[in-house]
């Protein structure tokens, strides 16, 4: 009869096997192929050149990487993407903080409802949310007329709200806001009122209580939220594609161009890899920070 340990191991493979297999085939392998593709030459009609050329040698080279490094415009686009993601993250933080605080402080029975209200917009279709801003920022819409009216009153020319960096940023914030609210709320909910009472008792005013107690304690939530906003924002392409102007090409747009328009797949892969490395490093960094701080706060398990 099989020993207990063997049976346990068999059970483990029965359960973890199928999802593991699926993800290996449809996630790990494509990723590896993409890495490999970055070392190949583009095919004549787009895509990839054959793996072995006429002489039978493997087609592997660093041309695409060299191109990325040599033509600085790509690095610039990357830096711009980082900039946009950063601004988005900060704006989300500023908006999310009061919201999360309010929910954390409201009576228990309302909290789930309030949270649901924050999440619902997230569950509406991504494109709808972009489209909504197209309407709001459209040249004939109320907002544009008010703003341009105000500008005209100051003697300045009309400013297009749509197809601009402003539109892209507003929409980026709009789309990612729930991701900042949730981790922040999860953290703030755990804060003990007693700490703030003690601080007040010791003479701290409202601002000091916030800055010296609440905010530092909320940092793990802030980092988690920042990671959840920054990383997706880095790779976004639909928003600049629909709402952005010619200056708003971000790395996501470049990747899309390379794969679907220019069809220079090796170069597109290089761009994707750069993006992946950036995203993964940030995710790992966020996880590392989160663990370091959470270690001090997690309750001791007996």
């Amino acid at each position: 009869m099989a020993s207990r340990a063997d049976e346990q191991r068999a059970g483990k493979w029965w359960v973890s096997g199928p999802p593991l297999l699926y993800l290996l085939v449809f996630f790990a392998v494509p990723t590896l192929i993409m890495v490999l593709a970055s070392f190949r030459t583009p095919g004549e009609f787009g895509g990839l050149a054959p793996l072995r050329d006429e002489s039978g040698a493997l087609d592997l080279n660093l041309e695409s990487y060299q191109r990325f490094v040599a033509e600085t415009v790509y690095a610039q686009v990357f830096v711009k993407s980082v900039g946009y993601a950063l601004v988005t993250t900060l704006a989300c933080l500023l908006l999310a903080y009061p919201l999360a605080t309010l929910i954390a402080r409201s009576p228990k029975k309302y909290r789930d409802l309030l949270l649901l209200l924050v999440i619902l917009p997230f569950w509406s279709n991504f494109l709808i949310r972009i489209y909504a801003w197209m309407i709001i920022l459209g040249p004939n819409a109320a907002l544009a007329r008010v703003v341009n009216g105000a500008f005209a009153w100051f003697g300045a020319g009309p400013v297009p709200l749509l197809f601009s960096s402003f539109a892209v940023l507003v929409c980026l914030v709009y789309v990612h806001l729930p991701f900042m609210v949730l981790p922040l709320y999860a953290n703030l909910e755990k804060h003990e009122q007693a700490l703030l009472d003690a601080a007040q008792d010791l003479g701290a005013n409202a601002w000091q209580r916030f800055w010296r107690i609440t905010f530092p304690l909320s940092l793990p939530g802030v980092y988690a939220g920042a990671a959840l906003v920054f990383i997706p924002a880095l790779g976004i392409f639909a928003i600049p594609d629909i709402l952005g102007g010619p200056n708003d090409t971000l790395i996501g747009n470049l990747i899309k161009q390379q794969f679907l328009e220019t069809r220079d797949w090796p170069f597109g892969s290089v761009l994707s890899i750069v993006l992946t490395v950036a995203a993964l490093s940030l995710a790992a960094f966020a996880a590392w920070i989160g663990r370091g701080r959470a270690g001090a706060e997690r309750p001791v398990r007996a």
Binding site: M1, S3, R4, E7
Partner: protein, 362 residues
Amino acid sequence: MALLEIQGVTRRFGDFTAVDDVSLAIEAGEFFTLLGPSGCGKTTLLRMIAGFDLPDAGRILLNGEDLADKPPEARPVRTVFQSYALFPHMTVDGNIAFPLHMAKTPDAEIPGKVAAALEDVRLPGFGKRYPHELSGGQKQRVAIARALVTHPTVLLLDEPLAALDAKLREEMQLELIGMQKDAGITFVYVTHDQTEALALSHRIAVMNRGKVEQLDEPSKIYGFPRTRFVADFIGHCNLLSGPVRSAANRVVVVDVAGLGAVEVATPLADATRAGAGGTIALRPEKVRIEAASDAARGNHYRGTVSELLYMGDVTVYRVATAAGLRIEALLANSKAGRAQFFEVGDAVDVAWSADAGHFIAE
């Protein structure tokens, strides 16, 4: 041959040895208790009997058969968990019927057995309720009913009464004794509560740091503790330690700092050498306490009452002798004469006879 034999079982978790080379033989039909403070290994040992953990060394035999390769579901051993572990999505009937289903009992027989099990734990008619509708004591009983319904060979109980309040606990203790006697099943009971252990068990294994310090009937554990730990863990005890001055004729004399020479009658006298370390374990209820008087006869020690604890039926006096050593004396209030109610600060004499103490060699 004993029903359940534990032979040289050891279990380690990394650097920590939870169970250290423990050997026990548990007889059929007995109420056997593993008693000890938290971390002593009693629960780990219980889980190994149940099959949720495997020993790193040693064997566990049930009716002579090695249980090593048998997973929990194949062992004729049932566990009553500390948290009861009743399936929240099943009714009481469903919970109790579960092991019957697993044992492939014919469907027709199941309702009858379930009803009988509920009767045995005195919860007739509770079948349609869900666990969250039950009180702690009721959940307790359903857990026991579920464990007993397939008439296991051994029932393991992991501190089942820990979550109940004092009065309920006492009631359940009596019920458990009754249940065990009626069902005739071997109980292996784990607890850290020594009064509970003393009240319920046929035999107790006192465990500390993975080892069994003493295995005996309750009265012997209480009256004749074999180690300092057992003496201290069970009930209250005065522990008078020091080097042995002399040992002969069934009397050992120990030099106790602060008291001087103290005699104790013990069968170990012949095996004890002068100079070796020893402890006299003296139960407070064997210490006589009287108002200080020069007319006192016999061996007595002078001191002042430093603390007293009035507990309703008894009073515990802590008496500080001149050298600072504290002796505890317990006096049943109903037996105390007028002259024996003392206040803090009173001068008193404490005394005991040589055979009131129990000698423990170091």
